[in-house]
Symmetry: D2
Subunit: 394 residues, 4 copies
């Protein structure tokens, strides 16, 4: 048993199998991958890593497993899944995922190949842990609900941890209460009536973290820039799989070594010379058809209209957000219902969430006015609400 | 200049006039009045007093006054109003207000009589502070908006402080940001665009504190019991004004000394033998006509139907809540608008708030079933949603 | 199982027997007794009660018992002892102890009489808990070391809790680590090598809390005043046992009702019109013989010399402090040694502790100069280091 | 005016000149340099950077300058010095300093060359800030005492910040109090009597942080490893100045690219395959002559005796620590004295500090026993107190 200091949970205790998993090079690599990618450009404190988040998720999984009364082998499976759930992340976490997924055709949650190699494979074998079982748990199957569900230990840890390191005041999850009030009911992980408000607090936290942190425009712009740099490097011959296997250090030095556009983007990010917003609007300002066109095609069309090099126009049209927490099952007076059915607040908050969605077009400062006007014409914008600039930002 | 340790703000610095006001017996009395009345019966940590809240409100008023660039005499007036805004509170704060107001026909904010007596009068005169100006400021007139408005230092301090001492995780107000983004615009206190999310955080905090703390059923039941005891003591000859001038110690010992029903209620509260809920329902279960009948008449009717002594049935039909924060003016792109107009989240939260309102009927444990059935008949309840029992409570 | 919110530990969970004990009138009385007596006159936030401290001690005892792997009946005994260890406290906690002990000839830890009466007796019987066993545990015998030893859950809870409510930054005990590293070794509670620094942190915390809080001169003066008032009330006919059974409300209203000197002292405390220091010196300024004379005799002698009524001179000559933590056994490389032997820091800190001891003489502001001069003559003071006034105080 | 979120201070506000300085590439580089070098190998949360520490030091300098009533140009000078005081740091902060200083013959505080180049030079000129004045302030001359003295804003920020991110509970500095009680007395920065305890708290914090964090053996071992790798890279032709100008990313990728021993050490650190302790002892176990021999010569001698390749034996013989805080001037009753003269605790703590000093010899796990025996013979060790292994570590 080893204890590791964690600013969020106090201590994380690792038992034998967990310690050995954490010590593999595959897991140690996560020490060099920032949890929030480039968010430290906005929040200088946000330098925390996937490694500590993985320890935190393991810690909460363990607490929950104990309170559910799981058997030893079940606890080991759930613990291993929590510890390993992010081992497949590429460098800079989500910041590179959008660039890599179209090439690799799989998300960071698919880790069968990683589980079956090197020291990790040896450790898993030694403890009788099977790769397909871990993968299934990470996919949320069976007791994997603990690790990956509408409300899970992954989400609890990252909301609290991200709030802690960014310094925003919104990590207000009553996690002790929430864990305590979770139970298994006919094999399904549910929250009892006494935990409904705690579950709601998780939804509120995410609702507040979204515009302040995850979708902060500086984060989105720098992520679009790094994604463009990575695409260029891949188009120039680096394999997408090789990029995905890098850590942050390797990615940044590879981009620099690549020269040209990729190096230019990396250098801009290094010294925080990032693009500016030419367009930044909510759903209500957009013709719905715009959402169906690819970001690349939109960028080319606007570049043509504006007479600007298309490499320097980045279109950011994220998927509409959902709030899966509302579907989480609550056990109230002997009946299982969706959280949104028993808590009027949850259903109201779900509607609020969509109001923070934004569509953006980013470019060099000197092209801004030019691109903004071209985009307005191409997209037939109802209004360019740059007012969001002020309201969204912390 | 004196500094006083405060667990919420670190230190509160008191300048000459403020220190002298704080040292008057009228203000020292607030040391012996609990901020949350009987909430410590639910939250054992909630023993904080009106005295420290008053210091906290003064502290925030001072910060805000400095940042607004007020003149010295304006700062002194605002500071004095913040410090004195609760000097008129009766024992146990709001817990006794509902019992006393019908007799006294004035709220705790009316303090002209207190300002004009004894040492407090002397101190105010020495510093050239006029009682009517302080009263006006406490009523929210002119710069009094700082002390008493839809968003004010009183509310900021109590939300954060009450969360701190109860231990609930909901004091999530970004107060530094909020204060920094407040400004005077045509004589009106407004929040700039950059502070809209911080203002929203205050609304969210109050929305969460309401059911968890302020309207926790144990608080409401014990407040109904203490109110009934006070009414009996007044009906038996103690003057309402005398009760209002007591502190918590004097009230509890007076009730004990009064004997009979008043002493019984006090003894029950002392040893936490409080009434139970026979009925506890939201608006959707009530015939609207019920809200128009006085609590006393409802209690008598149900007592008759149930065959139970009317003294032991307490009806609790609070006023419907409002969310004035939504009206607070925001200054966005040169225009002043209500907060709810610039923040979709605020308007959504306002609707959520009403969903936590509850109507209750409380009685001795042994009469519970009896009273519940009688009430159901008398009130023609659609459903007795005792489910709230679980969802509301922490 | 019930959960109670606690600002220090998050939640305290009470199992059946603990909940029933906590619900007895004897324990509920502790809700009305402040943990730090009159310290709220210095630290307005210090209104926390013996009740929440008792819950906190129970919580830590439970954690420790689990980690030591105690049997169910052992856990119940230790839990009951932790919960009940302060049930014998008089009003205002330690503030009245010095006045009452000479009359009662027993300390607050002797609670056999309380355990054998009323509802508490019934509950203990129902769960097969024997009063002598609980008393023995509270006296630190056997597993009672958990509750009462050189390092115990009582001390851990009060240091952290008192720091939390006063707002001083010195509650820096790494309690999780400390609990985790405690073990039973030949029936003795010891700390393992990995917990030595955590144990040291407890000593540092107490060293810092002492001058800032427990021995703050305003606390000491007001305690001397309340003790003098109580002695007068007892001399006038109230039984010491009756005083000890009061809570804070009953004590303050009894002193007021007593009239005369007792009421005057109570009124002074209520409105914070407390005595001032005429003398306040460390050991190095005192002739050792002074420590052998009773406080009462010293007061009379100085009163005579100064020509001041002896009731208005209070001599405060506390026992020299000890630091029992240094004796706590540490298990290092297979050997059990005293903490001070394995940690050079501990032995150094022990010597530091004595440097904060102070001898004081307090009187009315108007008599101050007079009394100071008389005392200097009577006590042959080497120097009257009122400089401590500034250094000690926060 | 811009505000930046900081988990430690809430917000850091940057005025015009400070914002422009912070935006230069020279300062942005600090975003990619970890404050605690390789301490994240022990404390996974310790990923904070020199950039946020620089902002924090600026923030505290600004608070202190305001409270001292400095003129605008003085505030600007002090602010610039605080912001820039670490701009000369090499990669991984102190972890590389011991390797680089022998080559460069200057410490990270000498930054005249950096101030006189590129965008930083332009910004300083625009605001009339002169490089020699800033360098003098960083050297602690004149008002530079605020930035660099026995007690300064640099130390306050790093102690609190390092505790926050490592998660240890020892960042207990009463910084608000300390700042408030600082004043200028005959041009000297002094602490008033009321701040003596707060100043002491800083000393205590450093005393606790030292063994737990700064001198944690895992930090020391990995720093010795990285230093050895850098020396090899320099000996193979890379210029020391070039290494110093790198950030963490560039250093780690350069070491990797260098191949051979340097790459091996870098790879070991990446995957946390660090050396082990063969010897780890305090002063009391060492012959004083050992401290006079260079680390390199000791390593060679032991390598020869043990028959192990000298590259794989690292000797760590740090300078003896001092506690300059004790010399900080305190203004008590009109006289200026050293802190250690007015606070008995300070002088006692100074003696405690030296007790945590350790001499270490590190090697590959497989050579451990071999090297330990050779070292014992060569150094004539009184005892190899590996007991420290347990006591020191968290």
């Amino acid at each position: 048993m080893t204890e590791i200091r964690d600013p969020v949970h106090g201590y994380v205790q690792l038992e034998g199998f967990a310690l050995e998993i954490a010590d593999t090079p595959q897991m140690q690599r996560l020490r060099w991958i920032k949890q929030l990618g480039l968010a430290s450009l906005v929040y200088p404190g946000a330098n925390h890593t996937r490694f500590e988040h993985s320890l935190g998720a393991y810690h909460l999984a363990n607490l929950l497993a104990k309170q559910l009364g799981l058997a030893d082998d079940e606890m080991m499976l759930v613990g291993a899944a929590a510890l390993l759930h992010d081992v497949g992340h590429g460098p800079l976490s989500h910041a590179t995922e959008s660039a890599l997924t179209p090439y690799l055709r799989k998300e960071h949650e698919s880790i069968m190949d990683i589980l079956k190699k090197g020291e990790l494979r040896e450790v898993l074998e030694r403890y009788g842990l099977k790769a397909p079982d871990i993968q299934a748990a990470i996919n949320g199957i069976g007791l994997g609900q603990i690790v990956s569900g509408e409300i899970d230990v992954d989400r609890m840890d990252y909301l609290i941890r991200d709030a802690h390191y960014t310094g925003v005041a919104y990590g207000v999850i009553d996690r002790l209460r929430l864990l305590q009030k979770m139970t298994l009911y006919n094999g399904e992980l549910v929250v009892e009536a006494g935990g409904v408000q705690a579950a709601t607090s998780l939804l509120i936290s995410r609702l507040l973290m979204h515009p302040s942190v995850y979708y902060h425009h500086v984060c989105r712009i720098s992520e679009c820039m790094i994604a463009a740099a990575i695409r260029r490097m891949i188009d120039d011959g680096t394999s997408a799989a090789a990029v995905k296997a890098m850590d942050d250090i390797e990615l940044m030095s590879s981009l620099q070594a690549a020269g040209g556009y990729a190096a230019e983007m990396a250098a801009r990010i290094r010294s925080r010379r990032i693009f500016k917003r030419a367009v930044y609007v909510g759903l209500e300002c957009l013709d719905p058809s715009v959402l169906k066109v690819s970001e690349k095609m939109l960028a080319q069309e606007i570049a043509h209209e504006a007479g600007v090099d298309g490499d320097y126009i980045l279109v950011d049209s994220p998927a509409l957000m959902d709030t899966p927490e509302g579907s989480f099952p609550a056990l109230v007076e002997g009946e299982v219902k969706a959280l949104r059915e028993v808590s009027p607040l949850v259903s109201i908050l779900e509607r609020a969430h969509r109001a923070t969605w934004r569509f953006g077009i980013y470019c060099r400062e000197e092209d801004r006015e030019n691109v903004a006007q071209a985009a307005r014409r191409c997209l037939n914008l109802k209004k360019n609400r740059l007012i969001y600039r002020y309201i969204d930002t912390f």
